[in-house]
Symmetry: C2
Subunit: 275 residues, 2 copies
């Protein structure tokens, strides 16, 4: 599996990916899931991919040469000359469809789903930053202020902290920290996600970035985050009062509260009706 | 969906379930997923169920009368006379298979998977407590000191906190608190899990329990846990240093660390090779 997350903020974009690929538990490899496309001053784009590795690698390869007809009669549209991120996402969707045309039927015969999902975001020229999630059918959705992040792959373990922290006003470095905490929860609970990580932070309107880093088990910042988060989480957990069953007045009662629901009935013999 | 969790500790057992059932997002109902079977002084058992509601309700109904042949020629084995939790789990597995024989073929014709999963734990007589997870085929696995909890349904959101906190030595009330925090993370990130909750705490060797409570949005303890956990989590998060990109010596550097992995290469034009 894979875990990738990307966040769109007013201040910029954050992209984070792991690098574990597995075909069964006994076949685990390291493949990077992130590509940065950059023409400084003109465009910055970042692509994250999850799903079948043969499909996502093919899409990435084809994306370099993929062209869409320009409806206004100009040059064919590529990711390198697209005038908007929306057009660039259309080119990516088209690359996905080309791989489907090439491999879809043979994969189906082999009983393999055509399974790929991608996150694609960035900024082109004077247009605002945009962030897309692209599906196996080449269709895509765009992040909005209400839903400022996308996740692909093993997304559930790391979602609660994103839900709690991320808003469009979150500062860039705070969002990067949040993405790393989200990744830490995922690494802790799922073997199919693994180091090293690739982290990219893009500042709005820069049209380039030098905040790109590869994080492995020796990275001091990530080690600090992992240790601190685990330890502090435990302290917070310990600081919350335990539930007390006798409803003693000095504590927050677990029982004896008003409830509209029926208390659970015990079944005490084979003849008893359940409902 | 559903989220249920059960924990086996030296001190006892904890069971927690939500009560949301949905057939599509536009058809959401409340059904309790927990049943307590109790013959005080003789046996205490608790069943949690997830999956297709028609299947799990049928299994629960049949379980009351399900019988297995006793290989030693005695009375047929039921959950009410089984001499071990292992035998009781076999009776439950048999009930699942009976529902499969009755409904499996028709469900398959309708394109519906025979999807049910259950957690079944408790204590019978002088045997130690046991906790099982039962699958759609009626087969089951048992919790061990290395894996002292089971989850069914929407399990991923709530797994990190369990992974961090639960060991066989965790006290009962702390485990109940942990299960509630795990449920809180799940409720926060997934609409298909909902209140009220059923919580049961069983103390080792009691062979009965009165620690049974139904928790809705008015429950003061769960409200305290939700508010405190969310707020403290945020404080911990805020207290962790942000990543600093310039590697200034007063902070924990995010970049410039020794890494065996290659830094991510930027792609800067259509001709550039990806690898």
């Amino acid at each position: 599996m894979t875990y990738c997350v990307a966040v769109k903020l007013k201040a910029g974009l954050v992209f984070l990916s792991d690098s574990r690929t597995n075909a069964g538990l006994d076949q685990i490899s390291t493949f990077r899931k992130m590509i940065v496309y950059e023409k400084p001053g003109d465009r910055f784009m970042c692509l994250l991919s999850a799903g079948n590795l043969s499909i996502s690698q093919s899409v990435r390869e084809i994306l370099q040469v993929e062209q869409l007809a320009d409806h206004e009669g100009g040059d064919p549209v590529t990711i390198w000359n697209a005038r908007s991120m929306f057009d660039a996402a259309r080119v990516l969707g088209s690359a996905v469809r080309h791989v489907f045309e090439r491999d879809g039927e043979a994969l189906k015969r082999a009983g393999v789903d055509f399974n790929v999902s991608m996150i694609f975001g960035g900024q082109i020229g004077s247009e605002g930053m945009r962030l897309f999630q692209v599906y196996s059918a080449g269709n895509f959705i765009e992040a909005t202020p209400e839903t400022p992040f996308f996740q692909i792959g093993e997304s559930k373990y790391g979602k609660p902290v994103l839900d709690r922290v991320i808003t469009p006003d979150t500062p860039l470095d705070e969002a990067a920290k949040c993405a790393l905490v989200s990744m830490d929860s995922t690494l802790k609970s799922n073997l199919s996600v693994g180091l090293p990580l690739d982290l990219v932070v893009y500042e709005a309107d820069a049209l380039k970035t030098d905040r790109i880093t590869c994080i492995d088990e020796n990275n001091p910042y990530f080690r600090m985050v992992r240790n601190t988060w685990g330890q502090k989480l435990r302290e917070v957990f310990d600081a919350i009062e335990h539930p007390v069953w006798d409803g003693s007045p000095t504590t927050v009662p677990l029982m004896g509260c008003s409830t509209r629901s029926q208390p659970l009935k015990k079944i005490t013999n084979p003849k008893e009706k359940l409902i």
